[in-house]
Assembly symmetry: C2
C-alpha cells in the first residue's frame, strides 16, 4: 500500500517531470539546452563575469564551463572579452542577441508562474510557498541521511 506521504512525493515527482519537459521545450525553441541556459541566466543576473566565477556559481568544473561557453559563443549568445586587469581571465559577456534571449527566458518564467498559480484561490500561492519552505527546511535539516529512487 501507498501512504499519503508517498502519494504526495509521487505527485511532486510527476509535476517535476511535466515542468521539466515544458521548460526544456521552451529552451530548445530559443536554441538552448538546460546547461547553456543556466549560464545565460547567471550572466543575466550578474553581468559579465569570468569563467572561474561561472564555474563556482554553476558548481561545475572550469573545463565544463569552457565547453558551455564555446557553444554559447558559437550560437552568438555571448562573447569572450579581455579582463581589464587580469590577462589570464576572460569576461564572458552577453551579446545583444544573448541579452534578448535571456529576457525571453525571464518572460517565459513569469508566464509559466502565472499560468501555474494564477487560478489558485486567494492566499493559495502564499500558503503553497509556505509549505515549500517547510519542506525545504525539512530536507536541509536532515541532509546526509540516505534517500533514493528514480
Amino acid at each position: 500500500m501507498m501512504s499519503a506521504n508517498e502519494a504526495a512525493l509521487g505527485r511532486l515527482q510527476e509535476l517535476v517531470v511535466v515542468l521539466s519537459e515544458d521548460m526544456e521545450q521552451g529552451l530548445a525553441a530559443l536554441g538552448l539546452t538546460r546547461s547553456r541556459a543556466h549560464v545565460l541566466w547567471e550572466l543575466h543576473r550578474c553581468g559579465p563575469v569570468t569563467q572561474r566565477t561561472l564555474s563556482d556559481a554553476l558548481r561545475v568544473t572550469p573545463r565544463n564551463v569552457t565547453g558551455l561557453v564555446d557553444a554559447l559563443v558559437d550560437g552568438g549568445f555571448v562573447s569572450r572579452e579581455p579582463h581589464p586587469t587580469d590577462r589570464r581571465a576572460t569576461l564572458i559577456t552577453l551579446t545583444g542577441s544573448g541579452a534578448e534571449t535571456a529576457a525571453a527566458m525571464a518572460a517565459g518564467q513569469r508566464d509559466l508562474a502565472d499560468q501555474l498559480f494564477g487560478s489558485l484561490p486567494p492566499g493559495g500561492v502564499e500558503e503553497f510557498t509556505a509549505t515549500l519552505d517547510h519542506l525545504l527546511a525539512q530536507i536541509r535539516s536532515q541532509q546526509g541521511a540516505g534517500g533514493a529512487q528514480r
Copy 2:
C-alpha cells in the same frame, strides 16, 4: 520586482534541486545512476520484460536501453534471459541483488516521503497533494504554449 507567483515557482525549483541531489546521492550509494535506477524501478514494478517494453516505458530509444541494460548486467543487477516464445527478444530479469537494490530504493522513497511530509499539520499532506493535482491539471491543459528558463 518578483510576483508571488514567480516566488512560488522559484521556491519549487529550489526544492527540486535539493531533492534531486539527495536522490542522486542515495542512488550513487547503491551503485546506480538515475537512468539505470529508472530501469530497475520499472522492472521492480512490472516483472521481467523485453527491452522493447522498457524502451516504450522509459521513452528512450532501443539503442539506449541496450546500453543501460549492459551496465546493469555488468553491475550484477539484472540478467538477460531468453524469451520463451520469441527468439529475437530477451527478458530483462532482476537478479537477487537487483531485487534487493530495488527494495532499498522503495524503502528510501518511503523514508524520504515521511521525512518530508511527516511534520506537516494534520490534513496538510492531503491539501498539498490537492494543490499539486491542480497545478498538474493547469500545466497539462495549456501544454504547447511556450515556457522557458533554467
